[in-house]
Symmetry: C2
Subunit: 168 residues, 2 copies
């Protein structure tokens, strides 16, 4: 089971980025996202709507005290550009089954670094929590996540060389 | 040479997403990003500042007529969730040397599908242009982009098991 925790969501500033973090979690095979910071019903609704239309059983849940989540029994992977390179740690991470992937907000308190089993960087350069999460999940699943079949989908894409084809 | 074209930038709505698209381009080994839509000096400055601090020679340029760029001699790869799966096309794409990767804005006109040599999906599900771009570059470079050395960097991270270490 893989779940994601997005820290410190600010509806005004982060609406679209947190949406993308949630959609990457879903599309790349995680089963749930928790988010902390400010509760955001519009974020929750848009993710629920996408799951309803595009299938699968992905969940989103607001959590007031995210540190509590880190104290449950699972392997915590904190994505940070200051961490150890993914390519050196991925085989060790692949042996873990029950993962919580922590994705930072504006500034991540030091406790998160300490409570995490792995502090992992996807390139020690500034880029995006969205790309970091996708690369981690892509490497964890060895590319198998690219062909997940989402059950009970109302909408389904028929891949095209040109143009768009949607089956509904 | 790999360059990226981000379509239809709207400063108010897309500021942070386009920034992330640009940072992923840079961190994952592209040499330049063009963007169309509305010109955004604050976007350009923030990318230039990051390149100045973190090294390399990444460029950003506003382009008024992006369709013109597609008519220059290079291989155009348009990232769209409606396209053919990356895993089926990556070996063909890896043979190309001079790439322009097109990353959509809100709604991409049909000409882009027609003028592209490849319309490629990273999973036929809604997620993010940021993750799609990172996965494409990661697969194109076979993971070698994870260890690029950015020249003339003022700031450099020393990867840590816990905490942050920055050399400047």
């Amino acid at each position: 089971m893989i779940e994601v925790l997005r820290l410190d969501h600010r509806p005004k500033r982060d609406a679209r980025l947190t949406t993308h973090v949630a959609l990457v979690s879903r599309a790349f095979g995680a089963s749930k996202i928790y988010y902390s910071g400010q509760q955001d019903p519009s974020l929750e609704n848009s993710i629920k709507k996408i799951t309803k239309n595009w299938g699968g059983s992905f969940k989103i849940e607001y959590i007031k005290n995210p540190l509590k989540l880190l104290q449950t029994k699972r392997t915590i992977i904190h994505l940070t550009m200051y961490g150890l390179p993914i390519q050196k740690k991925i085989s060790e991470i692949r042996k873990q089954r029950n993962l919580l992937i922590v994705v930072g907000g504006s500034k991540v308190p030091i406790q998160y670094y300490k409570l995490s089993n792995f502090n992992i960087s996807i390139i020690n350069q500034p880029h995006s929590e969205v790309s970091s999460l996708s690369i981690l999940l892509h490497k964890y699943f060895k590319g198998k996540e690219l062909s997940i079949n989402f059950k009970n989908a109302k909408l389904k894409i028929i891949p095209q060389e040109q143009g768009k084809k949607l089956k509904s």
